[in-house]
Amino acid sequence: MHQAWTAVFEPGFFASSQVHIAAAIGGVVAVVCAVTGVFTVMRGQSFAGHALGDVSAAGGSGALLIGLGPVAGFVGLGIAGAAVMDLIGVQRLRGRDLATGIVLGAAIGLSALFLYLTSATGATTGAVQQILFGSIFTTTSGTIPAVAVLGGISLASLALIGRPLLLSTISPDLAVARGVPVRLVGVLYMLSLAVSVGLSSLTTGAILSTALLIGPAAAALRLTARVGWALGLACMTGVLATWLGVLLAYDSYYWGSSHAGLPVSFFIVAVIFVTYLASGLRQARARVSNSVPALPAAAGQRDKLPA
């Protein structure tokens, strides 16, 4: 019994403070990302959600260069990028992704420049890897206040605009007819997306930022058409995937003879990916038994329409 326990939870897992911090920060970030992600997937804004991660990373490199704190860099440039994306974006889906791509390209160019200038001044090595991939295990407990505040801001703003956002996502024309300020709601959504993604990029790295944003939400939306349930399911999936990933990453140091372990982002992404594929099984089985459940209105059909 004891052997089975230690096979799953390698010694020191529950005592390690690194694990505590990773689980705490990861859990909070997973919830923020899951909630933001449900709206993101419904609005078809996955590209913007991913792009803002890279834009934030550019902000991080810039902050590193001028000696500013990383939080300001990540969130600051993220917000600026989101504002520009919304400003130059057009309402049609294709034009909007194009605008996102242009902002992203410019931000990546800035990233290249900042990293070059940083390395030219002889600063930290491994900066490229750190900024691109990041690691939940290297965040310190000092970032917990920033995480809590930013996470709170993002969730609060989404709660504030939740209903009009939902309406303008599912049926923009109806929202306009009902007097919802669609454009304003859209901008507010983009700003809270920027805060969420800036937060997650900073703490968990660029890869997990996108994975936690899109994966659990997409899986949840495939399983249920009701938004409330999708939000709950996405949060649960995100948190469980994060904790499971942390556990596996911790255990992986004990695997094999090299004791090198694999990065936590790898495990979390793997779990999320498997979950997403599994969520498709229900639809596949339903299709086979010839009683296809109605798909949620916004998911899956909008981007197939010509722009």
Partner: protein, 276 residues
């Protein structure tokens, strides 16, 4: 800057711009900006893995680019296209992170794979690059008509019997090939700027497809040449100039289109009289 050791960069950049301009036209037309970003980025992870295993990075690039294309294609059959792209991307990046965790040696190489390196092209690499470029452009030429039809009016294409999913997959594969060959000069992350900015600008100037494609190539060429020259002069990375110039050309195209709209605005229609 036209010394012999720079000639490789000029030649390769020219090939890259031509392919980027042609493939990019369809990227913009089909709204495939996300795959155009995701496939090169995922391919980079493959290059890192290949470097780890000691095989040519070009093979790693091509393998992961194709993997990405196939992954996006197959996952978008069951789910949203942008979700499929995002998940395929993060999976490849996660694998890349796993590969990179095995080693601490490769930072300069990683940087040049991502952002481009003017002097990174050897003479022996020019021929394979040109070959892949010719294959890409030829592939576009072969599927040109069905691709155009399914990009502009998907329903009519379906009615005509053109399998849109297969065309989408073909296009993604061409995108993957274009990705694999463009890394040496421009870098994995910035090839997508070349595939977005210049073609978008070209489409703002004209709606005729072949003319727009030609313009897109011209603007891409100018972009890359100016980027190389600027990078040579001040040592800043090429990627920065490509990103900035792509944004500039996109902005110029939008401004031109907006100006054209104000010029050709029709006068207010006469008030119609309605009989009650």
């Amino acid at each position: 800057m036209f010394a012999s050791f720079m000639m490789n960069a000029w030649i390769t950049a020219t090939i890259v711009a031509v392919v980027g301009g042609v493939v990019g036209y369809f990227v913009v037309l089909r709204g495939s900006a996300f795959p155009a970003h995701a496939i090169p980025k995922g391919a980079f992870a493959g290059a890192a893995g290949a470097a780890l295993l000691g095989i040519s990075t070009l093979i790693g690039l091509a393998a992961f680019a194709l993997l990405g294309a196939l992954g996006i294609g197959s996952m978008s059959r069951r789910g949203r296209h942008d979700v499929a792209t995002a998940l395929a991307l993060v999976l490849m990046l996660a694998l890349g992170a796993a590969f990179l965790s095995r080693t601490t040696e490769y930072e300069p190489e990683i940087y040049s794979l991502l952002f481009g390196e003017v002097l990174g092209v050897s003479t022996s690499e020019i021929l394979p690059t040109a070959g892949l470029g010719i294959i890409c452009v030829a592939a576009v030429a072969v599927i040109y008509r069905p691709l155009m039809l399914s990009s502009v009016t998907p329903e009519i294409a379906e009615a005509r019997g053109i399998p849109s999913r297969r065309i989408e997959l073909c296009f993604l594969i061409v995108l993957a090939l274009a990705t694999a060959m463009t890394v040496p000069v421009v870098g994995a992350l910035l090839i997508f700027s070349l595939m977005i900015g210049p073609p978008a600008a070209a489409r703002s100037l004209t709606s005729r497809p072949l003319l727009a494609m030609a313009l897109s190539v011209v603007i891409a060429l100018v972009t890359v040449w100016v980027a190389i020259a600027a990078s040579y002069l001040c040592n800043w990375p090429i990627g920065f100039f490509v990103g900035a110039l792509a944004a500039l050309s996109y902005g110029a195209g939008r401004a031109w289109a907006a100006w054209r709209r104000t010029r050709t605005a029709r006068p207010a229609p006469l008030k119609a009289t309605y009989s009650t």
